[in-house]
Amino acid sequence: MMKFLFDRDTWQEVWDSMTKNKVRTVITMVGVWWGILLLIGLLGAARGMENSFNRSFSNFATNSVFIWGQSTSMPFKGFQEGKRVVLKLSDAKRIEENVEGIEFVVPRNQSQGFVVRGMLSGTYNIAGDYPLLDVVQKKKMKKGRFINQNDIDRKRKVVAISEDIYKQLFEKDEEPIGELIRINNMNFQVIGIFEVSNFGGPQSEMHIPFTTFQQIYNQGDKIGWMMITGKPEYDIKQIEEDAKLILKNLNKIHPQDKRAFGSFNLGEMFGRVTGFLVGMQFLTWFVGIATLIAGVFAIGAILLITVKERTKEIGVRRALGATPFEIKRQIVVEAVFLTLIAGLFGIITGGWILIALDNAFGQGDDAQIVNASVSIAIVFLALIILVILGTLIGLIPAFKATSVKPIDALRDE
C-alpha cells in the first residue's frame, strides 16, 4: 500500500481524472473548503469574543453580589412599613462570619464630592473604601498606588483618583502623586491614578480610606452598600439569599420583604453571558460540522455521478486486468486527496479570515474580538474527521463501480 501511495502512476491517475473533470473537481473542493472555512472562521470568532469578554472581566471577582439598604414594604415586629433600612459595619461582619462560601465582604460608602484644584473644579463620586476593594475589583493603576491599611489605620486624607479627573484637574504630563486637591474644602493628597473599566458594576471616580470617609461625613457605623464575593465553587445566588436573610434578621425586617434590600448580582449576570458564549460555541460547532458533512456528501454524490460516467472506462480497465481492489483503491485515493487538499486550503483561508478579523476588530484595549484563534488540535481533528469521511464517502462510489460486471460496463453504450 505504501508503495502504491508513493508511486508516480497513482498520482498520475488522480491528476488525470481531476484535470479531465475540472468542474467536478472545483465544485467538490469548494464544498469542503467552504465547510472548513466556516468552521474555523466561526470557531475563531467565537473564541475571540470569549477572550474579549474574559479580558474585560479579568479585573473583577465575577462571583459577587452588591447589596444596599432601601426601605421596607411590610410591617414587622411593631415597625411600620416604609422604614429606612441602613446597613452597618457590624452587618458586614456578621455576614462574613455566618454565610457559607463567602470569600470577602467589602463594605463601602459613597457620596458626592466637590473637588477643587487651583482654578479648576468639578463634582465627582467619592467612595470610602478598604484596600480589599483592590482585590475584588482590581484597580488598574496608571500611577502610584491604591489605599492601604496604613491609610485606614491613620485615617489619612489621601485619595486615588480616576484618569478622567486627573485629565481635568492636571496639566498634561504633570506629576500628580503627592499633589494636594481640595475635596469639600478639605485637602487630600493624591496617591494614585487608576483607569476606569467599562465592566463589572458601579464604579467610583475617587477612593479615599473608609475610615477617613466615616469621619468627614460623620457616618459612624453606617455603610452605603457592600460587595460580597463568593468562593468559586459556591453559588452566588444562594449566598445572596443567605446574606439577605441574615440582614433581615439583624435589622428586624419581615423575612418575606422583597424591597428592603436592593442588590445587583454580578455573578448571575456573568453566568448569563458565559452561558450565551457557550451556546454560541456549540452553535458554531454544530453549523461548522454540519457544513463540513454536507461538503463531504457533495463529494460523494459527485464521485458517484462520475463513476456512472466512467462505468465504461472502469469496464475497459477491468477487461485489461485491473482487479476490483485496484479500482476501489484508485477511487478512494481520489476522494481522500480531494478532501485533503480542499481541507488544507480551507484551513489556510480560514486562517486568513481570522487574521482579517483580528485586523478589523482585534486592535486596541476595548476590542470586541481578542486573539481570534483556533487550536491546532482542533484543526487537526477537523482534518482527520474530514479524511475519514472522505474515505468512507469514497468507498460508496468505489463499491458501486466494482459491483457492475465488466461486461455490462462495456455494453453500456
Binding site: 508516480r8 502512476d9 488525470d16 481524472s17 479531465k20 465504461k312 472506462e313 469496464g315 475497459v316 480497465r317 477491468r318 477487461a319 485489461l320 486486468g321 485491473a322 482487479t323 476490483p324 481492489f325 485496484e326 466494482t402 460486471k405 465488466p406 461486461i407 462495456l410 453504450e413
Partner: protein, 234 residues
C-alpha cells in the same frame, strides 16, 4: 489451447430465464484464426464474453491454456484476463483522457510493470502498428482506423495467449477494415491465436476457420481458404 465442452448459459429475465448457450463444444489450437459468426441473439457475444472471462457460465467445462476457468473470484479473473487475453472492441474503448502511449501501457500497469519498462514496451507495440509518431496524441485526435490500431497495440502489449476481437471492423469503412484485417492476419502469421466475432462474410472469409452459431448451438464449424486482405481490391 482453448477447450470448451457442453457449455450452457442462461440469463434470468424476470421470473423465467433465457437459455442463450445450449451446449457448445469448441476447441481452438495455437496459431488458429477463428471467425465466430451469427446473427444477433445467436449467442456469439455471450460466448465471447465467457471465453474472455468477462462472464461466467452455468454448466460445462472451459480450459484456457491448461487452466480450468470456473467460479473465479473477480481478482483471479482479472489476473487471468491480464495474463491470457487481449481484447479488441468494436468501439475501440480507449480511455479518452490518456494519450495513445498511455493507453497501450495500461495493461502493463496492471501487471505491475515498472514505468520505464512499460513505456519501452508500449512504444515497441505502437511502432508495430505504425503509430509511434502518434504516441502522444489523445484518442480524439486519431482517425477510427488509428484508434483501432492503438487498441490492437494495447491488446498486444501484455503478450496474451489469445487475441479476442468483438466486431473489430464494425465501426470502420471497408478500406480501413481491410487494413485492420491485413494487420490481424500478419499477427496470425507470426503465430498469434485470434478469435474474431463478426457478422460480415468478407471479414469471416479472411480467417482460417469459421464457426457459425444459431440459437445457442454451433451450426457449422469449417476450415476455409483464407482470403488475404492485401490482395483484395476495394
Amino acid at each position: 489451447m482453448l477447450k470448451i465442452s457442453q457449455l450452457h448459459k442462461s440469463y434470468p429475465i424476470g421470473d423465467s430465464s433465457l437459455h442463450v448457450l445450449k451446449g457448445i463444444d469448441l476447441e481452438v489450437n495455437e496459431g488458429e484464426m477463428v471467425a465466430i459468426m451469427g446473427s444477433s441473439g445467436s449467442g456469439k457475444s455471450t460466448l465471447l464474453n465467457i471465453i474472455g472471462i468477462l462472464d461466467d457460465y452455468d454448466e460445462g467445462d472451459y480450459t484456457l491454456d491448461g487452466v480450468v476457468i470456473k467460479d473465479l473470484t473477480e481478482k483471479k479473473a482479472a489476473i487471468y484476463r491480464n495474463k491470457f487475453l487481449g481484447f479488441i472492441f468494436q468501439s475501440f474503448n480507449l480511455i479518452n483522457y490518456k494519450n495513445a502511449l498511455e493507453n497501450v501501457a495500461l495493461p502493463l500497469y496492471y501487471q505491475g510493470m515498472k514505468r520505464k519498462e512499460r513505456q519501452e514496451k508500449a512504444k515497441y507495440h505502437l511502432e508495430k502498428v505504425g503509430l509511434l509518431d502518434w504516441a502522444h496524441h489523445l484518442p480524439n485526435e486519431l482517425s477510427g482506423g488509428q484508434k483501432q490500431r492503438v487498441a490492437i497495440a494495447r491488446a498486444l502489449a501484455a503478450d496474451p495467449k489469445l487475441l479476442m476481437a468483438d466486431e473489430p471492423t464494425g465501426a470502420l469503412d471497408t478500406t480501413t477494415s481491410y487494413d485492420i484485417m491485413e494487420f490481424l492476419q500478419q499477427l496470425n502469421d507470426e503465430g498469434k491465436t485470434l478469435l474474431i466475432v463478426t457478422h460480415e462474410e468478407d471479414i469471416a472469409a479472411m480467417c482460417k476457420r469459421v464457426v457459425r452459431l444459431r440459437d445457442g448451438v454451433i451450426m457449422e464449424d469449417k476450415i476455409v481458404e483464407q482470403v488475404r486482405a492485401a490482395t483484395v481490391n476495394v
